[in-house]
């Protein structure tokens, strides 16, 4: 019996490579094209025609993304809403989407951002992280940061400066926003907007386990917005649904907000809103107005 147990231990340690990291990512890579307004799959909401984006302001293109630890680049897809020729004077929102599917799913949200403060008022940049939509590769935390930075680098090459960059993260997307603000690469944003942010994978694991289990027991991910936000001095806008059934407003969002010690911060707790319902329950006009006021403040 002793030998059997010893064998199980040795075999398991040698072969143990199970981690729940992949569960954080929920991509759909089955699509063959981006349909944007013609997308008929499940969406959180669909905007009316007044939020339409003129076709000449919709730019779909590819970027090469390479994480510091990688030797080859990965081709990812990006969408820029706005006039590329005026990026050198425009204010641009870098929108980092959540863990679900692909950019078609988030297209309506990107349109809302573009229309905050007026029709097509802001440029909006969005990428499908590797493994999402038409982007090549497999999702990973480091890859996601590299993918967002590839978008920032493209914006920089087209004339965007730090003072006109706003970073917006929703759910999973709050990780690259906090990471690339705390440890800037191509550009340093002037303001942050976090919608339904994670505090950290540690909180995710502890919420699930009740006991204070170390996150390394189940995941190799190191997302830690609650710590990274401590070194962020830029103004912060935090939006979170009070009825968020996925990321607890108290154990996740509130901790991130409390840990921010920067020059300015504001919180919007949206009554009755679940994880993906913030723009809807806030009210589209209220949501857009609040974003615009924060950006212009």
């Amino acid at each position: 019996m002793k030998n059997v147990i010893l064998l199980i231990i040795i075999a398991s340690l040698l072969t143990s490579c199970f981690k729940l990291d992949d569960n954080l990512f929920n991509p759909d890579s089955e699509i063959v094209e981006y349909k944007l307004d013609n997308y008929t799959g499940e969406q959180d909401f669909v905007l009316d025609a007044s939020y339409a984006i003129p076709s000449n302001l919709i730019n779909v293109f590819t970027l090469n993304s390479q994480a510091p630890s990688e030797s080859v680049s990965t081709t990812i897809y990006a969408i820029y809403i706005g006039d590329v020729a005026t990026i050198n004077t425009d204010t641009v929102i870098m929108y980092c989407h959540g863990n679900k599917w692909h950019m078609d799913f988030y297209w309506q949200r990107a349109k809302l951002l573009a229309h905050s403060g007026g029709k097509n008022n802001y440029g909006v940049m969005m990428v499908d992280y590797r493994g999402y939509g038409l982007s090549e590769g497999k999702p990973s935390e480091d890859g996601m940061y590299a993918d967002v930075d590839a978008a920032l680098n493209w914006l920089k090459q087209n004339g965007l400066s730090n003072d006109r960059l706003i970073m917006y993260g929703f759910s999973l997307g709050t990780a690259p926003v906090c990471e690339l603000t705390a440890k800037p690469r191509s550009l340093t944003p002037s303001k942050l907007i976090l919608e339904a942010p994670y505090a950290s994978v540690a909180v995710m694991v502890q919420d699930a386990a009740v006991l204070g289990m170390p996150s390394s027991f189940v995941t190799g991910l190191s997302i830690d917005n609650a710590e990274e936000i401590k070194s962020v001095n830029q103004p912060l806008m935090w939006i979170h649904g009070e009825d968020d059934s996925f990321l607890n407003i108290n154990t996740h969002g509130q901790v991130v907000y409390d840990n921010h010690q920067g020059v300015y911060k504001e919180a919007h707790k949206i009554n009755g809103a679940d994880h993906s319902e913030v723009p809807l329950m806030f009210g589209f006009q209220n949501y857009c107005s609040a974003l615009d006021l924060f950006i212009k403040k």
């Binding site: 231990i9 143990s16 199970f18 502890q206 006991l211 170390p214 390394s216 027991f217």
Partner: protein
Amino acid sequence: MPSRIVRPLDKGEKAVNLHVGGPLIGFAGKTIPVPFTSLMYAQGVTDKTTVFGSLHTTSLLFGVVQTDIGACQNIYYNDSLKLGFSVAPAINMAYDTWEGNFKLWPQLDVNAYWDIKPQKSFVYVGVDNWFELSGTKAHNQSQKNRWIINPQIGFTHVRNKWNYNIEGKWLTPYLKNTPNVVDYKGISGKGAVGIYISFTRKF
């Protein structure tokens, strides 16, 4: 995990046990028990005391060496009612081989059991208690759940060489199971129902 030992083994008796099961969760549109597994070895020290130790095999697959070591003590038995009470204090320990993190938490299993036939099958009800030693969680947040209570009910079908056990637990029935990144299936939105089956070979 299910109760390790509810009714102590006979003095000198040995047993090896495999358990499968865990809390029910929603996964890919279906409700499934988390597929936790563990192997346990137990030995009767006296007719009233059994010691045990386990290896959590699912945890091993994640590079985590986890064990619980304890003893079951029969504290009361009524011959006419065939009713007994036992307690099983244990220490849980887990160590991950990736980052070297270690976690220890005590446990106390308290059960009442009824022998259905003399020395044969039995049913039991009880409470599994876990104790969190740390007063803080990640990011220095206060840990409010220091004593975790999980009521349980089970049935053990006893054969000559094998025991077959099924147990249901209601894990943390006093805590709301949302919001949470795991879609736990509880009762009236509280806790999680756990289903465990186990097979025991006696020597």
